[in-house]
Amino acid sequence: MQRYSIFSLLRNALSYHEGWERAWRAPELKPAYDVVIIGAGGHGLACAYYLARDHGITNVAVLERGWLGGGNTGRNTTTIRSNYLRDESIKFFDASVQLYEELSRELNINIMFSQRSQVDVIQTWPKLRDLRRRSMASELQGADYRLISTEEVYRRIPILADLQRSRLPVIGGAVQERAGVARHDAIAWGYARQADAAGVEIHQNTEVTGIARSPRGEVTGVETNRGAVRAGKVAIVVAGNTTQVAAMAELRLPIQSYNLQAFVSEPIKPVVHVQVNCPDAGMYVSQSDKGELLAGGAIDQASSFRQTPRYSVLEDAVTALIEMFPIFRRVKLMRQWGGTIEFAYDASPIISKTPVPGLYVSCGWWGGFKAIPIGGRTLAYTVARDEPHPLNAPYSLQRFDRLNFLMEPGTVTNR
């Protein structure tokens, strides 16, 4: 594998950048693998990488219906944070932030992880109590999420509207300093490139149409539009469409899909230096390195596989954005899009083996981008050893057998 560095960049510049080798191969589909991963998004590719790195399992195929990283990995707002509520969740997501901090070096690709901090702008007393509870839970687990004063909110976000005489004045804030954003393509490409170098095969335009099982019910492989593939272990990593793929193995999961949209503005000069989350207004915004404002709001209220924005929801998010930042009122929007997120019944993810022997699932993601490294690593552990890693043991499917919910109320997305 060609290493990426300043020297390889200079060397390739001399040949007009025509000498770069392919980042990953496009091999023929073999009739059998040890492990088949359905879905080449961040989580699926990370799982393949950690299967090879941590467990020496390299006879792996990642099958993708569309193109690599073209699902929710390419549709989210790239927020990485760990200010969750439950002890289990804070540990899990904070481990993910720590992996992200090392990821550029680990994958030899610049993921542009910018730990610019996230500031929550609080405008109601119930939200202040909620985030105070969160900050205390974070402190117990060593995550750096803490309350700040109204003055400190305005110091960190100088262009925030003066709301002190409005119906919902700013009454405080909360900050996580290590929160940040990263370049989503680079993460998918980085994991794909390293997994490929370790021997994993990535097959795009390969749609799984069925899951084959033995008479005793064990998974024996998958059917695809390019023919049957045998495998002793199959992992479903297709958040958004988990219900449909799991149904191929007659597996019913407590999952519901929703449409979440985001939009970007035209590029403007740097004005917002942190990620801003306004749970009471119902909007979050950050400014990309290119200068675009990247913002989103709430989900569509009914379950959906639409993957496009709806005007009524977009209007709510834009209204909230203008209310919090009146200086953006003449900025034009360039693009808007939707992605399919999933909620498990208790809003915590599921990374687990299933009642079907040899079948594993990673689903229930409604903010899965931030969990890609740890989600992939713990899923790889679960697939390789057929038992959960301590970090994803709380996210097993078995928790629903006794209705032991791990309730995880969210911020804007899941309010």
Binding site: N241, T243, Q244, R252, L253, P254, I255, Q256, S257, D300, Q301, A302, S303, S304, F305, R306, R310, Y311, S312, Y345, F400, D401, L403
Partner: protein, 87 residues
């Protein structure tokens, strides 16, 4: 703008309505005698179909009627004439 066809009021703006989840089979009367997995599936199970599904909608900021209606989860279009309200 998205209009929801309320059986009582006719088409009204969606902001007047609250989505109340998938329309499920009636609650079992003898829940205590059910097997655990059957009861748990009733409580938390979801069909989550990609396509037309029957759902409950509540005209909470209108006439207050709770009714069921078919909707396509791929397009959000309601199926004309599919609304059913309890009498």
């Amino acid at each position: 703008m998205h209009l929801v066809p309320c059986p009582w009021c006719g088409e009204r703006h969606e902001s007047e309505f609250a989505y109340a989840g998938e329309k499920k089979s009636p609650r079992p009367l003898d829940a205590g005698s059910l097997a655990d997995d059957v009861w748990i599936d009733y409580v938390i199970g979801r069909a989550n179909p990609r396509g037309v599904t029957r759902e409950k909608w509540w005209h909470v900021r209108g006439c207050g009627l709770m009714f069921s209606i078919e909707r396509d989860t791929r397009s959000h279009e309601f199926v004309a004439g599919s609304a059913e309200a309890p009498r």
